[in-house]
């Protein structure tokens, strides 16, 4: 759902950039105050992994493909939605500037959708579901699915405001496609959390481990 420059007028793009910069500033504060130095390896490996996985488009039928976005993954593994903003913002800058994947004036909107909305939806729905189900795979799958779907709906609204898509048609198509793409988001997110937890459980946020999640509930 990387929005290209042609899809949003420059003026609106600037407004999204300003909002995105506020969240980037908060993410930098998170990195300085709350991210421990021991987490540096996992932060960097998540960035590399999310970049690579975003280049891997899988077919979801209906003549459409999709890939992991990674907002939920970053937020869940590092225990903060700002981790997603931090990592996704930098990954989106690399993608936009070097590969033309997502525009420059629309980068703010892309950071808001995938980093901010994806991160917050992924993190808080995971937290809530973990309390209810005590199951990491179920919670992470649904949280990641929502963290793909909700940003896509936000994107459809932005496309309506930009005059690029009609509202109803945009919401329906974006919703249907990302409900399907969200299954990829869910499966890959759960698999990645399993993989990271099995090799370095200490680098994964306590909220991910079932016992700690149960304790919190």
């Amino acid at each position: 759902m990387h929005i290209p420059d042609a899809f949003i007028p420059i003026g609106q793009g600037i407004i999204y950039w300003i909002i995105a910069l506020v969240f980037i500033a908060l993410a930098l504060r998170w990195a300085r105050n709350e991210m421990s130095e021991e987490k540096l390896p996992i932060v960097a490996v998540l960035a590399a992994g999310i970049f690579a996985l975003q280049s891997f488009n899988l077919p979801v039928s209906m003549g459409t493909s999709g890939h992991l976005v990674g907002g939920a993954l970053a937020a869940i593994v590092l225990g903060s939605p700002f981790a997603a903003v931090f990592i996704l913002a930098l990954v989106l800058i690399v993608q936009g500037v070097l590969f033309g994947d997502g525009g420059i004036t629309t980068m703010g909107a892309n950071i808001i959708n995938m980093g901010v909305i994806g991160g917050f939806v992924g993190f808080y729905s995971f937290k809530g579901l973990m309390k209810m189900t005590k199951s990491m795979p179920i919670s992470a799958f649904i949280a990641a699915w929502l963290a793909c779907l909700i940003p896509a709906l936000a994107c459809a609204v932005e496309m309506f405001l930009a005059g690029t898509f009609p509202l109803r048609e945009g919401l329906i198509a974006m919703g249907v496609y990302h409900a399907a793409i969200g299954v990829i988001e869910g499966v890959v997110t759960v698999a990645a959390i399993y993989l990271i937890t099995s090799v370095r459980p200490d680098l994964v946020d306590d909220g991910v481990k079932t016992t700690a999640g149960a304790k919190a509930a």
Binding site: I42, F51, G63, D202
Partner: protein, 117 residues
């Protein structure tokens, strides 16, 4: 449990492998946003296949335009999949270096300015 160095190198290798496989196996179908644009432009139906000749019409009036050095994760048709692998490898390593460098610099600067950290 593996140490930091093994985790970092292993993580980069896994990411690079995913990128290489993606060059050969990734679907060429448009993504959700592009598919939606094709529907709006009357070139595709919601659940139908994407016609091979379908192309998103971009109205650039009042919009910014930018030519990236490696568009579509490739180095041009002449370089083929080798170019694709190189492009994705550069991107993957750069994402790693930029995020690691940024996070490291923030932790360093945080230490010198804030005695509580």
């Amino acid at each position: 449990m593996i140490n930091n160095k093994t985790f970092l190198i292993g993580g980069i290798i896994v990411a690079l492998l995913i990128g290489v496989v993606a060059v050969f196996l990734a679907s060429g179908d448009p993504d959700g946003l592009e598919s939606t644009a094709l529907i709006v432009q009357g070139q595709k139906t919601l659940t139908g296949d994407t016609p091979p000749e379908a192309e998103i019409q971009e109205d650039l009036t009042g919009k910014f335009s930018y030519e990236s050095p490696m568009p579509d994760y490739s180095l041009g048709d002449a370089m083929g999949s080798t170019g694709g692998i190189l492009a994705i490898a550069v991107g993957t390593l750069l994402a790693f270096i930029v995020v690691f460098g940024f996070a490291y610099a923030i932790k360093r600067s945080g230490k010198s300015t804030d005695p509580n950290q």
